[in-house]
Symmetry: C2
């Protein structure tokens, strides 16, 4: 992996003087073209041996191009405390909007698992690499151009560099204690790096190893690779790529769909409902104040047919909680800042901090429901969404965020009754729009899409809970019960995890 | 102030049962109307004696209305660390977008100055109150409805409430040590509160003191006030209010405007420029790595005629800095998330953290330049913007953020030459648009607006630096020199402040 970056590459002054100006002009031109079209974005990830010049390289890129459309983000080896949110949260927050460039120092390769601090076993490394591969594939599909550079120095060159920096009082601050440690264990560290690069050297986002001894060589190499990738990127429309034909899903040949089998009618009268409601709300309130709850978080996701009772169920949940502890997020059309990002970005921004609830009224599943049915997402887009969603929820789960997903089902007669009552009652008139009537005509398509969705995204860590909701009371009780059970399981897992960790330490 | 809230107010069960349902329905209806129109937003600020039920009241409001369009924000007495940003930063971040409601616990009244921890002298209190008054006036002008409630308990009632909560193991957690301290020094604390409420009892956002012993009385009182304010708010268009006629500014009767007197031509050849540039960039780089710099921050603001050389000057600044330390923010049309907020919101979001630079290419001064000239802002809107801007910059200054503002001036001949060269040179073609030619026709209006702006917003803590920029080299040198001087002054002040603080401690 590093052999070609220890050959003593060098660019002489004359070559540099001849090559730099046209390269610079080409990069600037490509940057402006990309910015004008605002269809795709670019992530330049800089990693490498310490003191190899990641900062200088970034400075050079900023000098060459227009710094007004480039943002830089440095990440430390140890993740900052994002209030318990998943590790990827901070990377999602640093993605450039369309038309823009982000330069990331280390990025998602800066985590402790890669730092070679504690040698990881091969299986863990592989798992992490696969997680990253899925993330980078998602970026590529969303039109983000990712360029990963490893700036390299051999052990003798690193030693020389550190010596030179230390000798000059103006640059001595650039050599940190960790850098000395890195040099001391250079072979072991490089071995870790090799494994990392090998495992994440994807066809769609390969590593580019650059010898970093001669700064002109480094700059020209990175610059040319960037120019080449950008021209390729600018020339091809993101739109066009996503229109690739893919065979759509077919309904079951006997016509029997998962959701057709759900029991929709249940018995529960108002009196029993109120008794059970009070008990369950008390239970939920108690769970939310459990000392262990401060170390976890909850995402509640509601989907279902229009007028299936999502709003009512949400109010029964929030009614049991302290307002300072939850946030209800209704999902409507994306804002323009959201549209300029990979599609999951607008859900990531609402991931709850430790000790908190986020309740989504409609969710990321819109991608495989309304967007599929209305054609807002192309077939390949919504087809890959199943995996992207499973990844998202797996990351939430791994960070101790309990994900509870409800599908509320009613039949067409019940929906009609509710639509009519909404049109009659004063303040309920806001709850019914022309869209609702239009969606109703596509009933069967929704049943099909929802059945596919449930089949493909019901995972052990985030199963779908299907609620027959013709009887509102029964539905609400069912929702509260399921939610309490899930939080209790989360608390138990939390307690178990704490015990396991403390065992390890002994 | 609190007399009427110690009368033993009470609402009996029958009244409650009769009054609550219609109130609830009316509130929900008003909330939906406001949400649909998305023209204004609502901030409900809850303050008061400890355990007086701020949380319960917020819960009740969430229960009455649709929680999907309400966000809550709790603020502790001691500000969280926003990486050295001004105290108001976190409140700006919690403002509701148009059509939405935010419930704030304490809000900008939660700061230590109000907590009665250390008795403030009358002058300090008055100064703080005036700062708040200006902020609340700005909110009102921007169509934000602010309702401030003080939930009150007399000393005996507070004691009783705390006793009752402590006796029940399920509620004992709600009584904190601070609450005991509050009770112990009740008269002194209440005296602080009285001063606070009196000083910030503005006609446009009066305090509403509510006796909080009987929860039905509390809820009906708050609910009705909210309903009344909302109906008033919903009925009147924010647009219409801002169209109030105001006499515009008149140009000086002799026609001589501030900017007409600026010297535009200077001598500096390329060779001298390059020598001075190198020295100044070295100086700037050194300042940015000064240990004291980590405790301050810098905002650089660029305005000027089109093609006056803002971009070039910015690149000479960023060229001297480490990319991890700065952010360049080009100001273009606001996004829809930005449009849904008070106009300064989109600049507040870019306020730099401690140790960092934000360079604005065009700024908040667009309000009194292009928005004034094109009529995007009404006369009262841009007229009040001068004060709003001065407040914004004063708050930056108070938080140790050095604000350096440049106006770059060229004459019309020079602009024409530059426009033409932009149209000819390949990658520069992105820098010239039809808008630029259109603006050129309004040259005189821009000179007038800029002259007014400089006169009204050149303050001791954030003076305008007027740069005659027909000679690019001279302009860039002048910019760098001014910036270095300002940072040096900031560092000296920083050092002085530290010394002063440590003196106090002795």
């Amino acid at each position: 992996m590093f052999e070609a970056a220890e050959l003593g590459h060098h660019i002489d002054k004359a070559t540099w003087k001849a090559e730099e100006p046209p390269l610079r002009e080409a990069l600037l031109d490509l940057q402006y073209q990309m910015h004008e079209r605002a269809e795709r974005s670019v992530v330049i990830l800089l990693a490498g041996v310490p003191t190899a010049g990641k900062g200088e390289m970034a400075n050079k890129l900023m000098e060459w191009m227009d710094p007004r459309h480039i943002a830089t983000h440095a990440f430390s080896t140890h993740p900052l405390d994002d209030a318990g949110r998943p590790e990827m949260y901070r990377f999602w927050r640093s993605l450039p909007p369309k038309g823009q460039i982000s330069i990331l120092f280390g990025g998602w390769y800066a985590g402790p698992i890669w730092a070679g601090e504690h040698q990881q076993d091969a299986a863990t490394l592989q798992r992490e690499a696969e997680k990253i591969a899925r993330f980078e594939r998602m970026l590529a599909s969303e039109g983000v151009l990712l360029l990963k550079f490893w700036l390299h120095l051999s052990a003798p060159e690193l030693k020389k560099r550190m010596q030179k920096l230390s000798d000059n009082p103006l640059t001595a601050w650039r050599v940190a204690d960790e850098d000395h440690a890195y040099l001391k264990h250079y072979p072991r560290n490089l071995d870790s790096a090799r494994k990392l690069l090998m495992a994440t050297n994807l066809a769609l986002a390969p590593w580019r190893v650059v010898e970093s001894v001669d700064e002109n060589f480094r700059a020209l190499t990175v610059g040319r690779q960037l120019k080449d990738a950008l021209s390729h990127h600018v020339a091809r429309s993101a739109e066009a790529e996503n229109r690739v034909e893919a065979p759509p899903l077919l309904p079951p040949v006997d016509g029997l769909r998962l959701l057709d089998t759900l029991k929709l009618n249940h018995e529960l009268d108002k009196h029993d409902y109120q008794q059970q409601l009070e008990a369950l709300q008390g239970r939920l309130n108690g769970l939310s104040r459990d000392p262990g709850f401060a170390k976890m978080a909850v995402v509640v996701a509601f989907e279902g047919m229009d007028a299936a009772g999502k709003g009512g169920a949400i109010r029964r949940i929030t009614g049991a909680l302290d307002v300072r502890q939850y946030r209800v997020v209704p999902i409507a059309a994306p804002t323009d800042e959201e549209k300029a990002q990979p599609w999951l970005w607008r859900f990531w921004r609402h991931v709850p901090a430790r000790g908190r609830f986020t309740v989504f009224d409609r969710t990321w599943y819109g991608r495989v429901l309304v967007e599929r049915i209305e054609g807002f997402a192309s077939v390949p887009e919504w087809m890959r969404a199943y995996n992207e969603i499973n990844d998202f929820e797996m990351q939430l789960d791994a960070a101790g965020v309990v994900v509870v997903k409800f599908w509320l089902s009613i039949d067409q007669d019940e929906q009609l009754k509710r639509f009519q009552s909404r049109e009659e009652i004063g303040y309920k008139r806001f709850k019914i729009t022309d869209d609702d009537w239009r969606n109703r005509e596509k009933w069967s398509q929704y049943v099909e899409a929802a059945s596919d969705m449930i089949e493909r995204t019901s995972t052990p860590h985030a199963p779908w809970h299907l609620i027959g909701a013709n009887n509102k009371y029964h539905a609400r009780i069912n929702v509260l019960q399921t939610l309490c059970d899930a939080i209790e399981a989360g608390l138990a897992r939390q307690a178990g995890a704490v015990t396991r960790t403390s065992h390890k330490k002994k």
